[in-house]
Amino acid sequence: MVLLRKIHGSLTLLTMMGALYAIFVIAPRELTMGIVQKIFYFHVSAAWIGFFGIYVVFFCSLIFLIKGGRQWDIRAASAAEVGVIFFTLNLVSGPIWAKPVWGIWWTWDARLTTSFILWLIYLGYLMIRRLVENPEQRARLSAVVSILGSIDAPIVYMANRWWRTQHPQPVVAGDSNSGLHPDMQVALLLTLLAFTMLFFYLWKTRINLERAREDVDILQQTVQYHIKEAR
């Protein structure tokens, strides 16, 4: 198991380096935006993984409610913690890219708005986990919230899309899939792959951490019990 983890970790690192190489060396410089455009690869990949994470949480929450079992709750919560990082990355990289290129920090286009809303939903989920004492209840309540959020996500996106078709706004990101240079496509795909592997790696790490924490708790209780008995 440890070996598999090490392989996973190394592969992730290699893919990351490959992606960086592709971004900075292979992919050409964008004509108008210059080097700042390179953020685009991270920005878009982070968004994709953030979305992916939401559905991982949704899936684990659903199984938890149907089947039960602490493992699925741990998986859901860990995925949420990792996923929120990617969305944060996405939301932070957006303005950094937008300001020098388009002169505005933010725009409420469909994609960005949905990312923001989902980020808030992630945060709501994590807040519930902090604020509920009873572990079973905590698991159930956060599962319910994540299911609601995941069902809401496509509706939020579509609603914003329709709004924007009625009231066109400056499209900041451009259509990331339209007219992308093949080398840029390669760089994007590699980054996506690297981020995906990173997500799974971090997710597993977080799950292991939680399991270790539980083991420590049990050991602590056992020790205390034996001390009491010895007296």
Binding site: N134, P135, E136
Partner: protein
């Protein structure tokens, strides 16, 4: 001993996170029995009662009430159970009558007006029937809570430390009512952690500690008193 027990618990487990609520609980209660659950605070008495009412779901094990599995037919079973817990479950801003009327509708009682009138009379609350519950004393609230719990004439009555905080008059009223219920053939399971009250016809006493059954006792009150005190001392 009949083959149709009112309550049947088989290897019931309930845990809260890492803490054991109930472990390996198997109990059988027959119709008409008066069973007392004895134990310290946190022994699992309330948890056990709450599982019988559907308020709490066990992690594993079988729970049968009146021959039906509580997970499969909860609404059917709940019509046969009356529960009096630590909280009165009364709406503070509504009057005694309105509270009972609400519960009568939930339990789909026929002829509710008459039944409510009788229940208020038995609880010695006829003259306060149209006052908001907010203004009631603890004893009055407890009497109304019991009226609420038994309005639908349940076969099984569950009481969770009902004597706590009661004045003498209300306590005596409660003891009389328990006697009355037993005469009517109802089954009673009562949880308590102190034995100051004198209980007459108890069928058996189940001693719980840390979520497990320590032993089941039978005999008269003084014998039980001694054994219980022994047990408590052995823990220190």
């Amino acid at each position: 001993m009949t083959d149709n027990p009112i309550v049947l618990l088989e290897k019931v487990e309930k845990w809260f996170g890492q803490n054991i609520g109930l472990h390996d609980i198997s109990i059988k209660v027959d119709k008409g029995e008066f069973v007392i659950l004895l134990g310290r605070n946190g022994a699992g008495k309330s948890t056990l009662l709450r599982i019988l009412t559907r308020l709490s779901k066990p992690n594993s094990g079988r729970v049968q009430v009146c021959g039906m599995n509580i997970q499969h037919e909860p609404e059917h079973i709940q019509k046969k159970i009356g529960f009096v817990g630590h909280h009165t479950l009364l709406y503070a801003h509504l009057t005694a009558r309105e509270n009972l009327h609400f519960y009568a509708k939930l339990y789909e009682l026929k002829n509710s007006k008459e039944q409510i009138k009788t229940a208020l009379k038995n609880a010695a609350l006829e003259f306060n029937a149209d006052r908001p519950v907010r203004g009631f004393s603890r004893g009055m609230q407890q009497r109304l809570a019991i009226a609420r719990a038994t309005l639908h004439h349940p076969e099984l009555i569950l009481l969770d430390e009902p004597y706590t905080g009661l004045d003498l008059e209300s306590a005596e009223l409660l003891s009389d009512q328990i006697q009355q219920w037993l005469t009517e053939g109802r089954t009673i399971i009562m949880a308590t952690h102190d034995l100051e009250q004198c209980f007459g016809d108890v069928s058996k006493w189940v001693l719980l500690d840390k979520g497990q059954i320590v032993e089941t006792l039978r005999g008269n009150v003084s014998v039980i008193h001694r054994r219980y005190r022994q047990f408590l001392q052995s823990l220190n």
